[in-house]
């Protein structure tokens, strides 16, 4: 850690990991509800558990991104953070607002929650992933603005590097596209149309910039490859990501009542979306192979390489599987979508946040790298979580293929619930893979408490 204000990242990272644990708890509960429908009913029905599962994911990734920004922006700009106090204040506001929202989901009936929080003044609730009450949404905007103000002011007074510019661009994009969550037109087609401007343009647009910047930062640090080289790759990757990702929004406009040309635009451009992810994989391996130093933090290198591979598989390959309109005609909204969603979020965003945490956390705790033993435990957690996620994805894909076949392709299509019974075996197997994932996560958390002789911090 070169600048004392970088330490504000620490609470953000801790909160991210804590909420990650919460997300997985609810994921397991839902995995069980898939096969034992009345588990936890009526206290926590499936729809509530799902809302908590997905909202926690988004919130902890946002904590991760903000922590990453607070860590890497001072180091990149070579100056202290504009206001560490503001960063800490925003941390508490965001944490409390997030926790209150989740508790609201769990303990208050959703309709009552809507009434209590002013949904009748401006109706924004009730849409997938954007279920947050109006007050929470406003809170998110305030926190985001204060955060961007803090980061932007830091950049203005410091060195401007490509990594920090790309990071900032991504974060500004994230805030700007979130504003569309306040736009809720009565026309259902328009509603869906702009809903994707938040959802798609986040995960397949501006988040990719954030991800590329974070990965590039860690790779510079652990490989010692010239900044110039890494920056060129960054330019190529973000241009490809934006060209394919922005027009690729069209793959959500196939069947929602939008004009037919979206089937062409969406198919062609989203078919190319794996390219930037492939470039990112090549980039990560290339940089590690050309490393000029042996960084003592081996675990961070593993997470970084894992990000490249798993993002390409989950977002690239599994996305491509069902992105062409003629295929999507059958697979739309099936378990194949769920398979893609799980591996893409894990491979791209979960892993990139864990990469930066793995790199930065030892430094924040005053050492260059964790002890050998702690790193071994951490790497075990990587393999447990990654392999079980591969199995979750494979089981869901198998379930999806069977579902599409029985319910949509077959000459004698079966009703939805009957099909669900037919594929319950895969849901059971997915649940067990999920249990292994949870074991991996516990291992991960435990790795922070493993004692041992750590590598001392040598300030050059």
């Amino acid at each position: 850690m070169k600048y004392t204000s970088q330490s504000v990242a620490l609470p953000y990272f801790i909160a991210a990991i804590g909420l990650f644990v919460g997300q997985i708890v609810f994921g397991l509960a839902m995995g069980l509800q898939y096969v034992v429908g009345d588990f936890l009913f009526p206290e926590i029905p499936f729809n509530v558990a799902r809302m908590v599962h997905t909202n926690l994911l988004i919130v902890w990734l946002l904590f991760g991104f903000m922590g990453a920004a607070y860590y890497l922006i001072p180091e990149e700009t070579e100056t202290e953070l504009y206001s560490p106090k503001l960063a800490l204040l925003m941390f508490w506001i965001f944490l409390i607002a997030g926790a209150a929202t989740i508790l609201g989901y769990l303990f208050v009936d959703y309709n009552t929650l809507a009434e209590m929080t002013g949904n009748n003044i401006l109706a924004t609730m009730g849409r997938e992933f954007l279920e947050q009450p109006l007050l929470t949404k406003i809170g998110i905007v305030i926190v985001a603005l204060a955060f961007l103000f803090n980061i932007s002011m830091t950049m203005l007074k410091g060195r401007k590097t490509v990594i920090s510019i790309v990071m900032l661009l991504g974060l500004w994009g994230l805030a700007i596209f979130f504003l569309f969550s306040f736009y809720n037109p009565g026309n259902l087609v328009k509603d869906k149309f702009y809903w994707w401007w938040v959802v798609h343009l986040w995960v397949e647009g501006v988040w990719e910039l954030i991800m590329a910047a974070m990965l590039a930062f860690v790779l510079i640090k652990v490989t010692g490859v010239d900044r110039e080289v890494i920056e060129k790759w960054l330019y190529v990757i973000i241009t490809l990501a934006l060209v394919t990702g922005l027009i690729g929004t069209g793959h959500h406009y196939f069947w929602i009542g939008t004009p037919g040309y979206w089937q062409w635009w969406g198919s062609i451009f989203s078919a190319l979306e794996p390219i930037p992810f492939f470039a990112m994989t090549v980039f990560a391996f290339n940089m590690v192979n050309r490393r000029r130093r042996e960084h003592p933090n081996k675990a961070a290198v593993l997470w970084a390489l894992g990000t490249g591979v798993m993002a390409f598989l989950g977002a690239g390959v599994w996305g491509f599987l069902h992105t062409l309109a003629p295929v999507n005609f059958y697979t739309h909204g099936s378990q194949i979508t769920a398979a893609h969603g799980h591996m893409a979020f894990y491979g791209a965003y979960v892993l990139v946040v864990l990469t930066i945490i793995s790199y930065a956390m030892p430094l924040l705790r005053g050492r260059a790298a964790n002890s050998q033993r702690a790193q071994v435990v951490e790497m075990w957690s990587f393999w447990l979580m990654t392999i079980s996620m591969v199995f979750i994805t494979l089981f869901l894909t198998a379930a999806g293929i069977l579902q599409v076949w029985l319910q949509r392709v077959s000459d004698t299509p079966m009703p939805f619930m009957q099909v669900q019974d037919q594929i319950s075996l895969f849901y059971w197997m997915r649940l067990w893979a999920g249990v292994v994932f949870a074991v991996g996560l516990v291992t991960y958390v435990a790795s922070f408490f493993v004692k041992g002789e750590s590598k001392p911090l040598i300030t050059p």
């Binding site: 060129k232 330019y235 190529v236 004009p259 040309y261 062409w264 062609i268 451009f269 390219i275 470039a279």
Partner: protein
């Protein structure tokens, strides 16, 4: 990769920056996919495509081809002049290249205005969807190319380029030639071939 091994080195060398070549490959792939999808879609609607193709203005398409080719020639001349050590003398060549590119944009805008005036839109038919999408996708590349040429012109004017510093001008030139290259397929494919 070039190795500066001696005065008479004939080592093979990729002009410009490696990153732009990765980018160009991705662009070629995107255009390639678009072209092939067009061609195979046409195979299922030959009569529709043949009939509506006749409504396109082939002459303005040909003029635009000439403009792009000439523009590319000027860029080559600018690179040659810069390589000979006369960065400032490259500037007028780049200005000429920019003018040709701008001419392309003007012709294209007239063509679009005529089509939109006739009530043609992306939803009119599969053919017009492809015609408008493909040419507009290319059009956006021309606009970006013009911005790059303007930046190169500025660099040349301030004497930035020379035999020891060809990276910037070669990188921009490679991109501009790519914009030209894809049009060389686009023009016969959409305007002429039936």
């Amino acid at each position: 990769m070039a190795r500066n091994s001696g005065p008479e080195t004939t080592a093979r060398r990729l002009p410009g920056d490696l990153a732009i070549w990765f980018f160009i490959l991705a662009e070629l792939l995107a255009f390639g996919v678009f072209f092939v999808v067009y061609a195979f879609t046409r195979a299922n609607h030959v009569e529709l495509f043949n009939a509506e193709q006749l409504t396109l203005d082939r002459t303005s398409g040909a003029i635009n081809t000439v403009l792009l080719l000439t523009s590319s020639f000027f860029v080559v001349r600018a690179v040659q002049v810069a390589e000979a050590g006369f960065s400032r003398r490259a500037a007028p060549w780049l200005a000429a290249a920019f003018a040709c590119g701008a001419g392309f944009v003007v012709v294209k805008i007239f063509e679009y205005a005529e089509k939109i005036g006739a009530g043609i839109s992306l939803s009119s038919s599969t053919f017009y969807m492809f015609y408008l999408s493909l040419t507009f996708f290319h059009f956006m590349h021309v606009i970006l190319g013009l911005v790059i040429i303007a930046a190169m012109w500025n660099g040349a004017r301030t004497g930035r380029y020379g035999p020891g510093n060809m990276n910037g001008i070669e990188t921009g030139a490679a991109y501009w030639h790519m914009v030209d290259l894809v049009w060389l397929i686009l023009f016969p494919l959409i305007y002429v071939m039936r």
